[in-house]
């Protein structure tokens, strides 16, 4: 049998054409953020990067991302030097737009490369009982990631560089597949951490996996492989040294950390990411209405907060408040449970599942989670969703919920058809293809869970119609929080459902 069609390259070319056509589309403030970083890294000396406050969008990504911006600025100065002036706020000449949008497409090639490596490293045919994903299925999963509506909405319309960074993540995951490249897997992940610190959410899985599979002997956990420890320690020190060293020499580490971790933010983002706290807030809102009848006390100060679209402390009127400590403890707890199993059985499939579950736990219980972070779950999950039908069953609600929850990122009428039609296109195509490709499970399926996922996907249609059309006709501009609240509560049910389902599958497979 010959190659599998279509190839990743063919899909990437067609997708690139669509992405270029999207150049004039809506772009969020992130576009100006990245332009400002281009300007800062290009025109200021290194030690002023994390101190500059000319724009309100100060540099708050780790140093590798700053270096990345500096490299791009070397090309940018040939395109339009005016975009590299720090004081040139809100500058968006067409050259600037073309340049910045093109850099997103070009840097995404790393993702294409990583996905190709992933496909190449998959075996021709799947292992018995769905333990391994076959090459055909891997190709389908890789194309689904490449064409992900999440990346299209966030990177190519809203504007960010996730494609490149998820490329690095997948590269690092795939390097973990082979014993001989385990070290490089760790180092690639360290480099990724130095680009965007949000990947810290996934770090526990890496820590456990590398500790067990690289630093300890495969036969006994009490025999330490010292040479590997030294190699890993030296490598990690070098990576972090290259990133933070220059700043450490000038004693700027504390300043960088204050930029990277602004602890003053609230529990929920202005728009609730679809996690446990969104459900918690929703229950609180409902309780406000029925509390007088139940005789529950209302906290007066809280009634004016949340849902009004302000970034700030979330106060609950009926339910007890949530502290960052609670979030942290819950996150770690739900990360530790699957990682214990990874520690016992450090296979690559368990590693990817562990990464996915770490993403899940931090997305669901984290403090001030942004809805874009759902990609931290969807992308690693896609790599193993085709192991068998049970995995696919858990993946389905996530695919729907995760992408629908991104819709509020784009709110202009011109982009509405793009985000909805593209997402529906992707969902139909890949849920149909995955359904044909996923092998039967070796164990019985969860009957109830399958019914839940079908019902859940069906509900998304009236929801999208209500949020985008009916609400506007009924209420005009009033009660704008309602569609947002429905979207995030709905998506939260899907994400939580998918998480529970995946936990069950993970522990029973």
């Amino acid at each position: 049998m010959g190659d599998i069609y279509p190839s990743l390259t063919q899909c990437a070319i067609v997708a690139a054409a669509l992405k270029i056509l999207l150049f004039p589309a809506y772009k969020s403030t992130d576009f100006e953020v990245h332009r400002n970083w281009l300007a800062i890294t290009h025109s200021l000396p290194l030690w002023e990067w994390y101190y500059d406050k000319t724009s309100e969008w100060t540099l708050d990504y780790p140093p590798f991302f700053a270096y990345f911006e500096w490299m791009m600025s070397q090309v940018a100065k040939l395109v339009d030097p005016a975009m590299l002036k720090v004081y040139n706020l809100e500058y968006a000449s067409w050259q600037t737009v073309y340049f910045q949008r093109f850099t997103v497409i070009i840097t995404e090639l790393l993702l294409v490369y990583a996905l190709q490596i992933f496909v190449d490293s998959s075996p021709r045919s799947g292992g018995g009982g769905g333990s391994v994903v076959s090459k055909r299925a891997a190709q389908a999963a890789a194309i689904s990631i490449l064409l992900s509506p999440g990346l299209l909405i966030i990177d190519h319309i809203h504007f960010q560089y996730n494609g490149c960074m998820y490329g690095l993540l997948i590269l690092s995951l795939v390097l973990g597949r082979d014993k001989s490249t385990l070290l490089w897997s760790g180092l690639a992940f360290a480099a990724l951490l130095c680009m965007k610190h949000i990947y810290l959410y996934l770090a526990p899985a890496y820590f456990v996996f590398l500790l067990r599979a690289y630093c300890l002997s495969p036969r006994s956990i009490f025999r330490i492989q010292w040479l590997n420890c030294v190699k890993l320690g030296f490598g990690l020190t070098s990576v972090f040294g290259i990133a933070f060293g220059p700043f450490a020499l000038r004693g700027q580490i504390s300043q960088i950390f204050s930029r990277l971790f602004p602890f003053s933010r609230g529990l929920c983002h202005a728009y609730w990411a679809p996690n446990v706290w969104a459900m918690y807030s929703f229950v609180d809102r409902v309780l406000i209405l029925i509390a007088p009848r139940l005789g529950l006390p209302l906290k007066e100060g809280a009634l004016t907060s949340t849902t009004r679209g302000l970034v700030g402390d979330t106060a609950f009127a009926v339910l007890p408040d949530v502290s960052p400590r609670v979030c942290f403890v819950l996150t770690l707890l739900f990360q530790a449970i699957p990682l214990a199993r990874l520690f016992m059985q450090p296979t690559w499939e368990n590693f990817v599942a562990g990464v996915t579950l770490c993403g899940f736990a931090s997305f669901l219980f984290g403090w001030h989670v942004h809805e874009k972070a759902i990609l931290l779950v969807i992308i690693p999950f896609s790599l193993i969703a085709l192991r068998d039908r049970r995995f696919l069953g858990a993946f389905r609600p996530l695919a729907v919920a995760g992408h629908v929850s991104l819709f509020p990122l784009l709110f202009t009428p011109a982009e509405f058809p793009i985000k909805t039609v593209y997402t529906v296109f992707w969902l139909i195509l890949f849920l149909m293809v995955f359904d044909r490709l996923a092998p039967a499970a070796s164990r019985a399926r969860l009957f109830l869970f399958d019914r839940f996922s079908t019902l859940y996907i069906t509900v998304s249609i009236p929801l999208i119609v209500y949020c985008s059309l009916v609400h506007g006709i009924l209420f005009g501009n009033k009660y704008e929080f309602l569609p947002l609240m429905f979207t995030s509560s709905y998506s939260a049910i899907g994400v939580v459902g998918s998480w529970v389902g995946f936990m069950v599958v993970y522990f029973t497979s």
Binding site: M1, G2, D3, I4, Y5, P6, S7, Q10, C11, I13, V14, A17, L18, I20, L21, L22, F23, P24, A25, K135, R136, A137, Q139, A140, I143, P413, A414, P417, I418, V421, Y422, V424, F425, I428, L429, F430, M432, V433, R436, L437
Partner: protein
């Protein structure tokens, strides 16, 4: 999206194996997991077929069709995010303003004034169906925001939401007319030619991704696909044998945009022929004539009734005029036979005005630079120095001479599978030689030519090479038009994407790879196409980097027109040649010696 996994329950076909073994094709069993219909094709030969490769196992087209429609819709809408003709280009703006203005006048003025209102500002000069369509769009738009179509004050409006609305009207009109028509046509035409469902799906995507229509309708802004869609619906009705519906659709196409006249000779020849062959069928002829006449009557009925109604209410078609009635713009002698005070006179005046607006006889042989014969000839001989009547007559004769052969063939051999070819050859004839051609009119010959992809061997190298050549050349001749409004980027992306999907130059030369059986015709095609592709590439390089000399500011456009006209001439000859060959009007033994060069 890898293909469907081989079913584990497939019964072993021992009998077939035996046959294969007998014919020394033992290795064919390696393909046993592929749909037997497609076993001849082992690997996709161009990227579009690779993209649809997994769909080969699908039983019906209904599994892929929704995805295809969503996919091509995304590209259309994304292309629409770019600017449109006349964007922020006062004083007159462009086609976008014309269409918006028609929505303004049709919704704000009594029907009798539509064709008379302030003709200097984009006066209505399309047939009535366009006016009704504008009225409908304008009514819907006014529900959303009445200021978009307020009389006078909305002129040159560039509201961002208005743009979204206008783009949506193009897309919705296309999805209601052009796309269903093309889907049905592709299905019928493929079945007629015995093409598999999967190949037909590939052809459908290729037709719907045709860059020229997307660029003109969804980017530059117009509603050509409505007219083209009605023509495709008419052709599709002919395929199904529903000749009367074909008449209705064709009259609707003519009533939407007079350009549909390019096809009128072909449809006339075909309909006449089926009334004559195999035996003369008077009742069919009468039915066709009556349906056509009734359709025309229905088309102008709202205008006629509206005018009479307005007269009754005392509304003048020309409130700005005082004093005596002006003479009729055309046929002034007609007034001698008519009573200008009779009740029917305003209707006559209205209809004459419509004809006058639709057919601008008073304009020159050609307006801008267009890649047809006259404009190209003008480079060598200054055509415009000759008197207009002479040029009109020359143009009429040349057009007739060019369209006569294809229509004669179609008349003598009224076969359904010849329709796209005959339509294409006739439209090329009109485009090349007729009067007052616009560069956008190239869409008309391109449409039936591209439909050939759904036909017999439609995806073969030979047909892809020629259809691709015509389309890419067509887009290229529209580049100056698009460049004027800064649309070089969507032009580049959409044209290259289509070339890539179909494996055409400049992305690939695989369509010209020699085949064993047709080596000679392959070489002829290369010999004909290569100079054009090289010239187009070179032209783009020059146009981008070299400023034309001061005394010849239009140098690049003129070069574009000259090369384009010659290339289109080749397309005309190819369509005509293929029509002659496919119609088998010339005995095969004779042609195989003489016309082998033209087409295989």
């Amino acid at each position: 999206m890898a293909g469907p996994s081989p079913s584990p329950h497939k019964p072993r076909r021992k009998a077939k194996r035996a046959v294969n073994a007998a014919s020394n094709l033992a290795n064919i069993t390696a393909l046993s997991d592929v749909n037997p219909v497609e076993t001849l094709v082992r690997a996709p030969s161009f990227p579009l077929s690779a993209l649809l490769w997994p769909a080969r196992g699908f039983v019906t087209e209904w599994e892929v069709l929704p995805l295809i429609l969503m996919g091509v819709g995304l590209f259309r809408w994304a292309a629409g995010l770019w600017g449109y003709s006349g964007f922020q280009k006062p004083p007159m703006f462009g086609d976008y303003e014309a269409q918006r203005h028609w929505m303004e006048i049709t919704t704000q003025l009594p029907i009798s004034q539509w064709y008379f209102h302030d003709l200097q500002w984009w006066g209505l000069d399309y047939p009535p169906l366009t006016a009704y369509h504008s009225w409908l769009c304008g009514k819907i738009g006014s529900l959303i925001n009445p200021s978009w179509f307020a009389l006078f004050s909305s002129r040159g409006l560039h509201d961002a939401n208005l743009k979204v609305f206008m783009r949506a009207t193009v897309l919705v009109s296309e999805y209601l007319i052009y796309i269903p028509a093309v889907v049905v046509f592709t299905r019928r035409f493929s079945r007629l030619n015995g093409v598999s469902t999967w190949s037909s799906a590939v052809a459908l995507v290729a037709i719907l991704m045709q860059p020229a229509t997307i660029l003109i309708d969804h980017v530059h802004f117009q509603y050509n696909t409505v007219m083209l869609g009605l023509v495709v619906a008419s052709m599709s009705s002919l395929l199904a044998g529903r000749n009367l519906w074909a008449c209705v659709f064709f009259v609707a196409a003519l009533g939407f945009k007079q350009m549909a006249l390019y096809y009128s000779f072909s449809i006339f020849s075909y309909l006449l022929a089926i009334c004559v062959f195999p035996r003369i069928n008077i009742s069919r002829f009468v039915a066709i004539a009556a349906t056509t006449a009734i359709s025309f009557a229905l088309l102008i009925l709202p205008i006629v009734v509206g005018t009479l109604h307005d007269v009754k209410r005392g509304i003048d078609a020309r409130p700005d005029l005082d004093g005596p009635r002006p003479p009729l713009p055309l046929f002034p002698q007609l007034a001698n036979y008519l009573d200008t005070e009779a009740f029917y006179y305003p209707v006559v005046e209205q209809l004459v005005q419509i004809v006058h607006r639709i057919f601008p006889f008073a304009r020159g042989l050609f307006e801008d630079k267009v890649a047809n014969f006259w404009c190209a000839l003008n480079v060598i001989v200054k055509v415009k120095k000759y008197p207009a009547p002479l040029l009109q007559r020359a143009s009429l004769l040349a057009t007739l001479a060019s369209i006569l052969p294809p229509n004669l063939v179609l008349f003598l051999r009224p076969r359904k599978h010849l329709l796209p070819l005959a339509f294409a050859a006739t439209a090329w004839g009109f485009f090349l030689f007729s009067y007052q051609v616009h560069e956008k009119s190239v869409l008309l010959p391109l449409m039936p030519m591209t439909l050939m992809l759904a036909g017999n061997h439609g995806l073969s190298k030979q047909i892809r090479a020629w259809v691709g050549f015509a389309n890419i050349l067509g887009c290229w001749t529209m580049f100056p038009l698009l460049k004027r409004v800064d649309l070089a980027m969507p032009y580049t992306v959409l044209t290259l994407l289509w070339a890539y999907l179909l494996g055409l130059p400049p992305t690939s030369i695989s369509v010209y790879a020699p085949e064993e059986t047709k080596a000679l015709s392959q070489w002829v095609t290369i010999f004909l196409h290569a100079p054009f592709y090289l010239a187009m590439a070179l032209w783009h390089v020059l146009e981008l980097n070299v400023v034309p000399p001061a005394d010849k500011p239009d140098l690049w456009t003129v070069a574009n027109v000259g090369i384009g006209a010659v290339g289109f001439g080749l397309c005309y000859i190819w369509c005509l040649g293929k029509l002659v060959v496919d119609s088998e009007i010339i005995p095969k033994s004779w042609f195989s010696k003489k016309t082998k060069l033209k087409s295989q």
